[in-house]
């Protein structure tokens, strides 16, 4: 029973290899079987251990837990586990095709799943590094999978920038190993609490190295430049996966490392709130000006990561769980939007929203589902985005509250801009859409609504927090949301739609690779200044 995490990691990986070895298209069904097995195992595991997560720890080979590699689970990792299983189901159904030869694709997809489960559950820093690097390689292969010029350049940009970040992470691990004598996360957590090691320059420097490596992986400002490139050019199924869950791997690491240093006297919440707010505002600014439907969604991932950071950076447990909740909700509605956008792009053969018109007349069901996603992301009452945003808002000061409102305004504006694809006359006579592709989109929409209405029991069950004071809908909320939409419409009509010079400039603004690395060093130095040099003075 305790070894279930091992099976969770190896079932998808071995299934992936069997699919790759037997060169029959029908073998693709094995992917669904493996996914089913993983789901059953995860549910069983959860039901067994949900009362006491401290029993989940085990070490491979039964060695001393400071020497071997250990796995452990807690409420956060289990919820991540279920979220990723759900998203992988959706992407698998969406891309599944037993007739065509999708062997290679399924191989990479399932391997990534196994590796991601490992990343979530590992309790060893170096093992974590191996998994991060493996994720990086797999994602860059998946991005390059289409073999077009765009995807190649996005893949190499992603691969090299993230490798630089991951190497900084490795350097941090080295320093921690020499100061603590082991790289077991649980052990380091207790050692930090019980000794004054965390006050030393070495451990502070190691913290900065780990965090700056993670900043690249989780696309924080100013290191988000790889994300819109990679997420916008991949296949839609892959984009949904990347934006939905894989980029959250970076935030998961952020949570893990923050918890590891929880006892250390570092003043992190101010700094990371500032980073989160900047990420959110910059991301939404880029999103408002884009014309490519997938670029818009990709930049929104950046801005939503900023909002999550606003919540996660807080020391207050309610605001923190707000950030966590927003992370789960974002996974749901962003996957929904990317999958829906994929269907639209497939039908209209263009990604430019200027040329997509009349979607509502051509595909009414899909349009309704997409609108559910848009309402969720822009924080409409009754939908899941609203709940998590209000939980985050609850713990903010006035100034911080207004920053969040600015981001919300930008989100509303850009989705008003995107919603014009629904209007207009029907331009396509008979769109060819596979019915199977609707299923995951519809399921995700249902999940969005469920999370919006039943947030109280779900949050209580998974994260053990009480959200009873946050109502899904009231007259005041609807009024506020309407006001927001109105302001967004004005902003769109009189600024964005006029296509002024600055708007064009922001749209075409791209950061080159060496500048991205320069920013990485800059970010790193600023972090050294804040966390190492400033406390010394």
């Amino acid at each position: 029973m305790i070894f279930v995490p091992v099976y969770l990691v190896f079932v998808p990986i071995l299934a992936a290899m069997i699919i790759f070895l037997f060169q029959k298209p029908k073998m693709a069904y094995l992917a669904l079987v493996a996914q089913g097995v993983v789901t059953v195992l995860a549910v069983w595991y959860f039901l067994t251990f949900r009362d006491d997560y401290s029993q989940t720890f085990f070490t491979f080979g039964g060695w001393n837990n400071l020497i071997g590699i250990g796995f452990r689970n807690d409420a956060i990792s289990i919820s991540f586990l279920f979220l990723s299983i759900f998203i992988w189901w959706m992407v698998l159904i969406y891309t599944f095709n037993a007739k065509k030869d999708t062997r290679n694709f399924l191989f990479f997809l399932l391997f990534l799943e196994g590796v991601f489960f490992g990343l979530i559950q590992t309790n060893d820093l170096f093992n974590m590094f191996v998994f991060i690097e493996l994720t990086t390689i797999l994602v860059s292969i998946l991005v390059a999978y289409e073999k077009a010029g765009d995807s190649f350049r996005a893949a190499i940009y992603y691969l090299l920038l993230n490798t630089a970040g991951v190497l900084a992470f490795l350097l941090g691990i080295i320093l921690l190993y020499y100061s603590f004598g082991n790289i077991n996360i649980n052990q380091i957590t207790t050692m930090i609490a019980s000794s004054d090691l965390s006050e030393t320059t070495t451990v502070r420097f190691a913290y900065v190295l780990l965090m700056s490596g993670i900043a690249v992986k989780s696309a924080m400002f100013p290191l988000f430049t790889w994300l819109p490139r990679a997420h916008a050019v991949a296949k839609s199924g892959v984009s949904a996966l990347l934006s939905g869950i894989v980029v959250k791997g970076g935030l998961y690491l952020f949570i893990r490392i923050s918890l590891m240093f929880a006892a250390a006297p570092y003043d992190t919440s101010m700094f990371f709130f500032a980073i989160g707010a900047t990420t959110a505002i910059v991301g939404v600014m880029f999103a408002m000006t884009q014309k490519d439907i997938k670029q818009i969604l990709a930049y929104h991932t950046v801005s939503q990561i900023g909002i999550m950071m606003m919540g996660l950076s807080s020391t207050d447990s309610l605001t923190f769980s707000g950030g966590l909740l927003h992370l789960y909700n974002h996974a749901l509605f962003k996957s929904l939007l990317f999958l829906g956008a994929g269907i639209i792009v497939n039908v209209y053969k263009t990604k430019n929203i200027k040329y997509i018109r009349g979607v509502f007349r051509a595909m009414p069901l899909l349009s309704i589902l997409m609108i559910v996603g848009m309402l969720s992301i822009s924080g409409s009452p009754l939908f899941n985005g609203f709940i998590s945003k209000s939980v985050i808002k609850y713990g903010l000061t006035d100034a911080q509250y207004w920053l969040l409102q600015i981001v919300n305004l930008g989100t509303a504006t850009s989705f008003l801009k995107m919603s014009q694809i629904f209007f207009g006359p029907r331009t396509l006579s008979y769109p060819l859409v596979r019915k199977r592709e609707y299923l995951p989109v519809a399921l995700l929409a249902v999940a969005c609504l469920t999370m919006g209405v039943l947030h109280v029991p779900i949050a209580d069950f998974v994260l053990d927090v009480d959200l009873a004071k946050f109502k899904p809908i009231s007259l005041q909320y609807v009024f506020e949301y309407g006001l927001m939409l109105g302001a967004g419409f004005l902003l769109y009509k009189y600024v964005i739609d006029k296509d002024y010079k600055p708007v064009q400039w922001i749209r075409n603004f791209r950061i080159s690779f060496e500048t991205a690395n320069y920013m990485f060093l800059l970010y790193f130095t600023v972090m050294i200044g804040v966390f190492v040099v400033y406390p010394m003075l």
Partner: protein, 193 residues
Amino acid sequence: MDGATMIEWTAYALQGILILLAIAIVLHKNNGTIIILIASFSLVTASLYIINNAPDVAIAEIAIGSAIIPLIYVISISRQREFIVLDRAMDEFIFIGDELAGIGYVLLHRLAEYYHLELNITNDPGLCSLDEAMDRMLCEKTNVDLIVAKDEETGKYVFKGKRSSTLMKKLQQMTQPFDNIEVILFKDSEFGG
């Protein structure tokens, strides 16, 4: 001077060399020279691993870092100095007899000179016998940079290449004075589905 101090001084000397090599790799302009530098860089690091009492790591570094990785570098850099042309016109445009002397050749040669590339012209019958409609796929999926074909109806020579390539833009400029040459550029196919 006893053994221990000698090893210490060797280590310092090697570290100095390592820093110099690293600076040279970062600042040098010619990628071909850098390959030799990177191979020696990994040899020096391997010796330093041994001095640091890590023979296992040194063996791994020598086997991987100074044999396989430089080879991969050599191949990929030599690939990036090439301009691969597939000649399907099969007349005196490029080859006159067995010699490369046709007007098309002169033109392409000038282009390759401009970008310091090596011109690699082939008229492999296996590829040339492929259907004309395959040209687009040839350009997209293989490493062929340019296809030279002849339009039977108009008698014009057609250059086919990728629209994304910088080289094609230059070629378009260069062929403007010629009436009998037409340039067709393929756009990358739409994707995202």
